[in-house]
Symmetry: C2
């Protein structure tokens, strides 16, 4: 049934392409660069076809699907006559050379891996946008002063494959070396192993080698599908991102209570782990609702909740596991939420005689995008008459690594449907064309 819906989405996409091409042709554009949407569409189709897994697409980081994607994009870059380089981490740089090669470059990039049974656009859209823009530059006879580089980044899907952004942080010299030992869930083999297998050099990540920095990157721009429902609900094609959220995560949380007979144990004698977690989750949800009412943005998600194998009908649960994902664009909001978490945990432990275990918790700081770039993008959108919304990002992206390295960075979101990380993920090619047109205009100006 999911497959029927996926196929219907593909059909709708095909219909959209014709409309998008017409719209681009008709628009009275203030730019002379038109992204090559036909090229983009051909690449999207080829990518989907070659990495379709029967339900969605699967492009394993440092694995088969990602390799296929890199090969496809490389072939297109060769046709366009771009300069092609691959670094020690496997990232691919496809460059339209500028007239002054001493100037620092513009990078248009994103990642080519996907989650298992994911969608075709999460990541790939940013790389393909870059290809469409440089193709448009060539077609318009535009010669940039700065190098314009399309960067196909490796291994961004941390939850699915390897955490820590080995691609972007590898290139920027900021990858945590300990993460080289992370095992890919589908193979049980380490990041280091998979990198070596493809001929890359994990040692460079271990020693913090870097090939990108403020000295050679003038600006990093990443197009990405929104992944959330906001643009679609508000009927706006393009999002200009203010900040990537910080998060604090409890990946392996537990409540330990006491196993008891569910019939024979009166209320006063229980230490029910499941009801303790229910109270915790519900009261944290109420607190989140209060923040929301105050206009303070954040998200709170119990991604998984599960009693252990020992649980069964007729028993009071003595243990339950959970994972908790808290994100907010402001560090102070994360602090407020965690203060509430600790308050609730202490209160519930005391009242119910249970013990919470919150794993030490990964943490990332909120990362603002470059305000100057956002303003330039906003002016491009205004000039082109393309609708946009200034908005925070919900998910994390490679752009955070670039911004944290001191490189002016920005993100442009494309309206999309059905979220992401699902085979139902959808994007209208018309919307992709709108966002790419804004980016082409900006890139032309920024590289001139």
């Amino acid at each position: 049934m999911i497959l029927d819906r996926v196929l219907a989405l593909h059909k709708a996409y095909e219909d959209g392409l014709a409309a998008a091409t017409r719209a681009l042709g008709c628009r009275g554009m203030s730019t002379n660069i038109r992204p090559d949407v036909t090229l983009a569409s051909r690449l999207f189709d080829a990518l989907r076809e070659k990495t379709f897994d029967g339900v969605g697409v699967t492009r394993e980081a440092y694995g088969r699907g990602e390799e296929i994607a890199h090969a496809l994009v490389r072939a297109e870059a060769e046709k366009l006559g771009l300069e092609i380089k691959v670094d020690y981490a496997g990232n691919m740089y496809m460059t339209l050379p500028g007239s002054d090669r001493t100037l620092s470059q513009i990078i248009l990039g994103s990642h080519l891996d996907s989650v298992p049974q994911g969608g075709n656009y999460d990541g790939a859209a940013g790389v393909i946008c870059g290809m469409a823009v440089v193709a448009g530059m060539k077609q318009a006879g535009f010669a940039p002063k700065r190098d314009v580089t399309v960067m196909a980044i490796r291994a961004e899907e941390g939850g699915a494959w390897f955490n820590g952004f080995p691609g972007s942080r590898g290139a920027l010299g900021s990858f945590p070396p300990a993460n080289l030992a992370i095992l890919r869930p589908d193979t049980g083999l380490s990041l280091e192993h998979h990198m070596r297998e493809l001929g890359f050099d994990p040692e460079a990540l271990r020693t913090g080698k870097k090939v990108l920095g403020p000295e050679n990157v003038h600006a990093y721009l990443e197009l990405h599908i929104e992944q959330g429902p906001v643009l679609d609900a508000e009927q706006i094609p393009v999002g200009l991102v203010t900040a990537l959220p910080g998060n604090r995560r409890v990946r392996v949380g537990k409540v330990i209570g006491e196993w008891n007979h569910s019939g024979a144990t009166p209320r006063a004698y229980r230490h029910d782990a499941a009801l303790a977690l229910a109270e915790f989750a519900h009261r944290l949800d109420l607190f989140w609702g209060e923040l929301e009412a105050q206009g303070v943005p954040s998200v709170v998600t119990f991604c998984t909740i599960a009693t252990t194998d020992q649980a069964g009908f007729g028993k009071v649960p003595g243990e339950i596991g959970f994972s908790l994902d808290v994100r907010a664009p402001e560090p102070a909001t994360l602090d407020r939420i965690y203060a509430e978490i600790h308050r609730l945990v202490a209160e519930i432990e005391a009242s119910r005689g249970v013990k919470f275990e919150l794993s030490s918790g990964q943490e990332s700081k909120p990362t603002p995008m470059d305000a100057g770039m956002r303003e330039a993008l906003r002016q491009s959108a205004e000039g082109l008459g393309i609708g946009y919304k200034v908005m925070p990002s919900g998910g994390g992206h490679d752009a955070a690594a670039f911004a944290q390295a001191g490189i002016p960075s920005a993100m442009v979101f494309v309206r999309n449907q059905n979220g992401s990380h699902t085979p139902l993920e959808a994007m209208r090619i018309e919307d992709f064309a709108e966002a790419s047109t804004v980016i082409a205009d900006w890139a032309m100006k920024a590289s001139s």
Copy 2:
């Protein structure tokens, strides 16, 4: 580590036996029947030894462990010279014949199966109590007027093996025939299959054949460990049971919401199944607390809660499963709790845009025990100077099937430690001796 605790419990039990034997010898008893605690202890030891599974005991219904238990008890009954019969359902009757065999019999019984990795006393204690009492009668030279029958019932552990009490309800002609098709979880084979394999006759259960009823059973008495913590906490050795609880069960409950990206989906766009269930569970728990404060007894347990395999870090849960076990000694209380459940479900479905699925729900009615028998047992305990508490049962037992068949029925609880359905389940042999002494006194009078 669990094994160390189990072995320590065995050691404590051995020490207790010596003390119990001394205490029985010293008590100035108003009865001339002393249950044979040495025989009981030998049977408990043999049972544990032969059905120990490495951690606890496992006595599969209509399977290896239960067969071992029946063979052990049968050998003891043969030594005592009791009449032995086995019915079409595999229940074993071991009878000390009365002087007037036209009179209806007294049955002292319980079950010999256990849950997997369970304790040694849940069920077996009631059968062994019967053996100890009839042995005591023989040793005292007591000749009952009525037959005194020890009944070893089959397959009581419904959650673990087969639901519907094929042993007791089989004998009473009240087993639901559809349940013959239930599969034993460890073998995947049906009740009907397992019964035939041991030479019993499932057809008799299908046609509602009966061998027991008010016409030939004067009274049914079942000793059982309490399974709960009340007697232990209140330091009372014996419980006299007022009623077995009714229950309503949601064995396979679900909340269906919508899968979304946990970072990119703002609060207003979510239909989080996990938070909906957390709200439901916590608010039902609060309602239960109100009932408790009003002095209305009941128990409410979410035995299992689990997001589905599709869940993972970075996703808002679109589905979560649960099971819910509600019990109360009064039907009106079950009605009140279910009214609240339906009110909460409707409210949460509306406010969160989720859908609850409550499986049709098995239901059993509360069953009062015979007041006359309880009063007689109370007088025996008083006369013997043995501490007792009049209390409801939390769990269901075979005694409910006898009472529902119109047979005067009673239960005597023995104080126990660490609950039941766990290898840590414990019982002091001194407490077993106290409860068995009360029963011996009652059985002597009832069969005279």
